[in-house]
Symmetry: D3
Subunit: 240 residues, 6 copies
Amino acid sequence: MRPSGRAVDSLRSIVLEPGYSKHAEGSCMARFGDTHVLCTASIEERVPGWMRGGGKGWVTAEYGMLPRSTHTRTDREAARGRQSGRTQEIQRLIGRSLRSVTDLKKIGEIQIRLDCDVIQADGGTRTAAITGSWVALYQALARFEKLGLGALPPLTDHVAAVSCGLCDGVAVLDLDYAEDSTAQADANFVLTGTGGIVEIQGTAETSPFAQAQFMELLALAQKGITELVALQKAALASLR
Amino acid sequence: MRPSGRAVDSLRSIVLEPGYSKHAEGSCMARFGDTHVLCTASIEERVPGWMRGGGKGWVTAEYGMLPRSTHTRTDREAARGRQSGRTQEIQRLIGRSLRSVTDLKKIGEIQIRLDCDVIQADGGTRTAAITGSWVALYQALARFEKLGLGALPPLTDHVAAVSCGLCDGVAVLDLDYAEDSTAQADANFVLTGTGGIVEIQGTAETSPFAQAQFMELLALAQKGITELVALQKAALASLR
Amino acid sequence: MRPSGRAVDSLRSIVLEPGYSKHAEGSCMARFGDTHVLCTASIEERVPGWMRGGGKGWVTAEYGMLPRSTHTRTDREAARGRQSGRTQEIQRLIGRSLRSVTDLKKIGEIQIRLDCDVIQADGGTRTAAITGSWVALYQALARFEKLGLGALPPLTDHVAAVSCGLCDGVAVLDLDYAEDSTAQADANFVLTGTGGIVEIQGTAETSPFAQAQFMELLALAQKGITELVALQKAALASLR
Amino acid sequence: MRPSGRAVDSLRSIVLEPGYSKHAEGSCMARFGDTHVLCTASIEERVPGWMRGGGKGWVTAEYGMLPRSTHTRTDREAARGRQSGRTQEIQRLIGRSLRSVTDLKKIGEIQIRLDCDVIQADGGTRTAAITGSWVALYQALARFEKLGLGALPPLTDHVAAVSCGLCDGVAVLDLDYAEDSTAQADANFVLTGTGGIVEIQGTAETSPFAQAQFMELLALAQKGITELVALQKAALASLR
Amino acid sequence: MRPSGRAVDSLRSIVLEPGYSKHAEGSCMARFGDTHVLCTASIEERVPGWMRGGGKGWVTAEYGMLPRSTHTRTDREAARGRQSGRTQEIQRLIGRSLRSVTDLKKIGEIQIRLDCDVIQADGGTRTAAITGSWVALYQALARFEKLGLGALPPLTDHVAAVSCGLCDGVAVLDLDYAEDSTAQADANFVLTGTGGIVEIQGTAETSPFAQAQFMELLALAQKGITELVALQKAALASLR
Amino acid sequence: MRPSGRAVDSLRSIVLEPGYSKHAEGSCMARFGDTHVLCTASIEERVPGWMRGGGKGWVTAEYGMLPRSTHTRTDREAARGRQSGRTQEIQRLIGRSLRSVTDLKKIGEIQIRLDCDVIQADGGTRTAAITGSWVALYQALARFEKLGLGALPPLTDHVAAVSCGLCDGVAVLDLDYAEDSTAQADANFVLTGTGGIVEIQGTAETSPFAQAQFMELLALAQKGITELVALQKAALASLR
């Protein structure tokens, strides 16, 4: 029995709310249960220095947590003067994930910055961030379409993410904080809409795990991603 | 005629939503029109080092803006590695304002940290932050009451804040971004529920102003604060 | 009775010594009693990046305290690796104050940096810094005149500053440290030579104060600024 | 055909040289072909603050590259004043990997710091670092045995790491720089001596990959780790 | 002929003004011609952590330059967020020099911080700082005597410093900026009152120099230090 | 009797191994007994901003210690976020020393960065760094020759360094850690192949020393440098 009463292969209640922000070119409030991440996409007319003149665009991400998004208060990174290793690891993952489905040549020399800010945390913030960022990115790129860039935004596929883990020896989908903090192992899966693997990050927390267990986690993830991609499609529909 | 169509002495639509955060001891989403600031109050059992053993508590504040809360994206302070002078100025103001109505001796050696994070900005973020923080602080302190601290939270009064400015030569209340960015002068007023002055910060933006004009701004502020305090009272009622 | 024996509306002994620095284009040692602030004005041929090509100049300020300018030693900000919030607040105030009387279009694309370094502190360092900076700025701009820029330096007016406060319930002018550290409320006023208000920063230290009290402080400030402006004029005369 | 002429399932020439450092409690120069990583283990008598009094020990890691370990010079992180996200990601991975086979309760309240410094880089520095760190850690803990801690160092198993990738559509083992910089996908596997999975980090570089391809990479890794563990055992034998 | 018209073995006009600071336990404004360095000595009741419990005191120094102490403005180190290598080198030298004549056991577990701030620079700031710091340190320690520490301050000797250099092939004493910036070689000498060598730092600027030339510089330094020590004695006399 | 059993005028066993690094344009592992410093020279096509357009090149150096190069572990500077004063002092010394024998006009607008990383420390790391850097620099510049720059690399002379000190009242050559940590005084000498003095840094550690003692140290240094220069020549021969 999971703490939340969910079935082992059930996602939390997921809400993707596109257009949440008044100012951003694209945005999505992604709610995975009590985990709420505001994802915005900002279009900038300059690519980073090392890319200039190459004719290609860039997609990058930054991640942050409000100090009291967590159960107990976490120090503000701006006040501490540096981003933690965890923050940097997550924002690099988000950036790689979204770039994997963006046709950087087609967007030309612009940069899109994804900002993923955790308003409230209850496990799985990075997977909510990736899933919501895809919607924000789509919305921002759609503005390009209106400018005559072409018939479709230059995204080659959906990308979404979910975590799975071994809790009390059982493989479960979409860990919340209660599960995440006690799991034997957990893994984050970033998959495309057509099932391709973009990123896998699996970590044994309390003891090493076996290949067969890993396969179970992957199967759960594939089921979850299918559902998340459907929700992304529904969210886009609401944008029109 | 103001850009928003408001009367010169009209506040924007104000919504104070207490208990917004699942984790914080106290919280309030303060919406002044399109300016949305999430205020949380976190109780910590330790006061800063220089206060230990003095038997008194402390109230302090931190302030931040989500990178895309603004019209164009603002660099993330955590990524830049330092808080701007503006940020520090604002968070010092919030802290002083709330301490002015807190009986630090009564709360004992605990520290309450107010985090004011701007989710969306449209002018007046610091005044929304102060007004919402009072609600968050009240809610956090009310938890103390339940622990037998006494009949009422140790707040000596309400405190709220509003900006006023000279736009096209006319004194107006509660500037939004369109006004704030073009005002001849503006001033932030922090007043108590009984009308006492806690802070005044007046700045000539385009040219020095006269004492009589300053008096007009102060009168508008007094009217606005009266309304904000009534809204704080209504917000508390909704908490019970 | 004030600790210094001064009348409630008396400034400390003020000395403005222009040309104190051998190297700077403009300089003034401003002594407000035992508060000594060295103000220098340095002319740079480049404006900040965001201003280039706009045809306008810029005036900015930095502020610092020698570690042992204070009663007990204060950590050196260069060693701590960051400027405090207080420092940034003060240097932003100095910059705004001096810009308010500078015709930035007339000076063309140059930047003038004001450095205000507290050699010895006894209360009121920011007001001494503003008052002395005006003299340093004038001297630096006068060099421009010699280069044929025009008949007069492009300053539109004098600007000077003074603090006032409520001590033992009485409004007094130009607080020294003994008063500053125990005042019920204090306010810094930055006014022009013609009495225009540039900045007002009023803060209740121990308890909120009333509008009538604030009016008393403002009246004292106006008297004090008149005297400071006369001293600035005398200082300029000594330059010729 | 691989650039190095190796078979798809061949490791590079691996040399693990324990006791390389005169001063460290444990050390190993790990050479994976032209990738040379010096791993040292330093025993400290204090655990981090958050662990004190818990009776458990800690193992942590830091990672760095000499500026000219790389093909073109990389800026020195100490001079830039911050560790990159990549550095932090790698050192967190090394720490987790080694903790997974350390009995933290048995070692008591001591901390072992692993320093992995890349003397020369040619791909796979993190896998060399993990594989070499296990030897350094073993040697450091063996000193404990001599102090009567027990019959064997408190390591529950071997741990080693290797990268695999898809190059020109073919799965290959232990990528060197020429392969790493052009691979379609690559993954780092951290496995125990008994085949348990400790960490998997798989990333699509140019396009998403399929589950079957991932299985091929995992199989190669299992073969490689078996060989690396044998080399660790041989290295330990040389220590005696 | 030297730019200043001085004889090759002449010091600049030297003024040591003890007791310059109102607040510091000891202070001295040291003027070597147009080089003006304010030296203060602050007594702290705590030694650094690594010294606690050892029964010994510590003397340390910090050094800074006002931004416009120099011919053209130098960036403020507090604003840049780090002290330059030059600053650190100089403050380490000052600290070592003064510790060489302080009986650290006799002063007990207190720390004396010397702050050397360059108000105006014209070459030789570090030598002025050392020479003036000795006076400031003496004055601070004399306060101890009054508290019954003993008959004399626990300084074992005088210490003073001077620079010498090769200019146009000639050895000269006490370089000013005009000489310093064009010298073939220069050296800083820190000597005690009895002629003992505390520090020698000689550097070839434009070409290596010979042993015989170095001996000439040392002889000049010995003459200069004798005069500086006499001036220190005269400064102390003025303190009584 | 020296701890190492060496004669007072004997160097440690010195090994200069050129071409140690696979990637760097020039490199040398310099071993002075148990002190091992890897020196690399990297050619960059851009000089620092302040030199551009001047037609001259630049040579600069950075220095670092691996955390466990020392007897007990030293904190990693990259993790602490700043280089220590000692590090900056040493790297400035290395840079000045190598520039003193480089014809910066002949090399044109390129920059050569020397990285000196201490793999293992046992006293005298800066002298090993300078001595080895000369070899690395020579090797890097020799690559220029092959590109038709001229018949010989644009080095005007050898440069090498050694430390000498007073131990138990006796002057000795090339201190190791055991001597360095207990010496009464020590000095680092940087001399050219023709005996010219480039840098002298002498410091009294426990008590001031006399001119005659300093002369003894200098004589020892001259003997040692002669031997080091011969070893540099032999190392170059091995490069051909």
